[in-house]
Amino acid sequence: MKDTVDPDISLPLTELIVCPQCDAVFHLKEPETGEKAVCQRCHTVLIAPRRQAGLKIIAIALATFILIIGATFFPFLTIDAAGNKNSVSVFDSALAFSSGPMVLLALATAGLIMVVPLVRAMLTLYVLVPIVLDLPPARYAMQAFRFSQALQPWSMAEIFALGCAVALVKIADLATVGFGPAFWMFGGLVVLLVAQESFMCRWSVWNSLEHPKKS
């Protein structure tokens, strides 16, 4: 990744990498594990292979999957005001918008905090498990991975977690509020999602999907 390619030299296209953010062209040179290849023009990270990243990501995706299911149905906050008790799960709070045109909002909320992270975890497993096992890629694995990348900005579990904290303070003087089990699951989920992003090197996945190891 040292040099921008001179337009006059014609390298085979497979030996090039093009920065998706700024379109600078570089001669492809795979960095060592733990190192990074960075676009020299706009500093976007292009390749960042990590040791045993595949296995780690699979483990994280599995844990994410279980946590989302749990965090959806267990209560995450309980409220107690003068004997009136109420406890809600994420599922309930998405349904808070269930009257009239607010249904759209309910669907959007449920989608952003549960469905999108869940779908991304499943797509990740679908794409990465065959790669790590040195099997040929699953059918439509590339489309699946592309879709999972496109969904990334719409996965908002971590924003929801901060939203919990804000909501807590807002009603602190109205009632006693306690955390349910799902709140801690959500906390764990946020950590997992961040870790997953740090292990994920997209270029490596694309490369192994294109050149599967023959087993």
């Binding site: 379109d23 062209v25 109420n86 709070s93 998405a94 808070a96 909320t109 303070v169 807002k170 109205l174």
Partner: protein
């Protein structure tokens, strides 16, 4: 230089290739409709942002009073109760970030048409910040969702979402689409046309 690149998987292909042979992403050397899409989503987002601030976001019903608060009104109320930190987060996520985002996307879209509009690195950083931070505006919607499901205490207190919540959610979604439609490669194009070196 006779090649076109896939923005999803960074693979290069000969100029004129329609879809990426590796990941199947649709490819264009420069998205000619990029700016049109940016402006279309931008305008819809702005149109939703106005009612989001005018209509009430939360309807609070307690034993003694019926209260409807807008986004800014709710934050001011929080500050009165001494919760300055939370009031600050709400104002930041629901007012400052959306407004800054409208301004930044518009600035970027205008700047790629006009030479001499700020450094490329500064503009690229701006683009990355906008893409990263825009999602966080959604926090107010989640707070409304949490509060309205949690505070359903029969006659004692009830909180329900107001119409502003839907407009606000739409505004966030459309500004996110607007930022995603922007082809960040346009920022760097002018430089090559000016004859300044590519790799500085």
């Amino acid at each position: 230089m006779g090649l076109v690149a896939c923005t999803r998987c960074t693979r290069a292909w000969p100029l004129g290739t329609q879809t990426c042979g590796r990941c199947g992403h649709k490819m264009v050397s420069r998205d000619a409709h990029s700016l049109q899409k940016v402006w279309a989503f931008w305008i819809v987002g702005l149109m939703c942002y106005v009612p989001a601030n005018v209509y009430p976001m939360l309807k609070t019903k307690t034993l003694f009073e019926n209260d409807e608060s807008t986004i800014v009104g709710g934050a001011v109320e929080l500050a009165h109760h001494g919760a300055f930190g939370i009031a600050f987060i709400i104002l930041l996520a629901s007012v400052a970030i959306p407004l800054a985002k409208f301004w930044a996307v518009a600035y970027l879209a205008v700047s790629v048409r006009r030479p001499g509009a700020g450094g490329n690195h500064a503009r690229h950083l701006m683009y990355e910040v906008v893409e990263y931070i825009g999602r966080w505006s959604m926090i107010d919607i989640f707070v409304v969702a949490i509060l309205s499901s949690l505070v359903q205490l029969n006659t004692l207190a009830n909180i329900n979402p107001g119409p502003a919540s839907m407009f606000f959610a739409l505004s966030v979604i459309f500004t996110m689409l607007s930022a995603q439609a922007f082809d960040s490669r346009l920022i760097w194009d002018k430089q090559t046309k000016d004859g300044t070196p590519l790799n500085d």
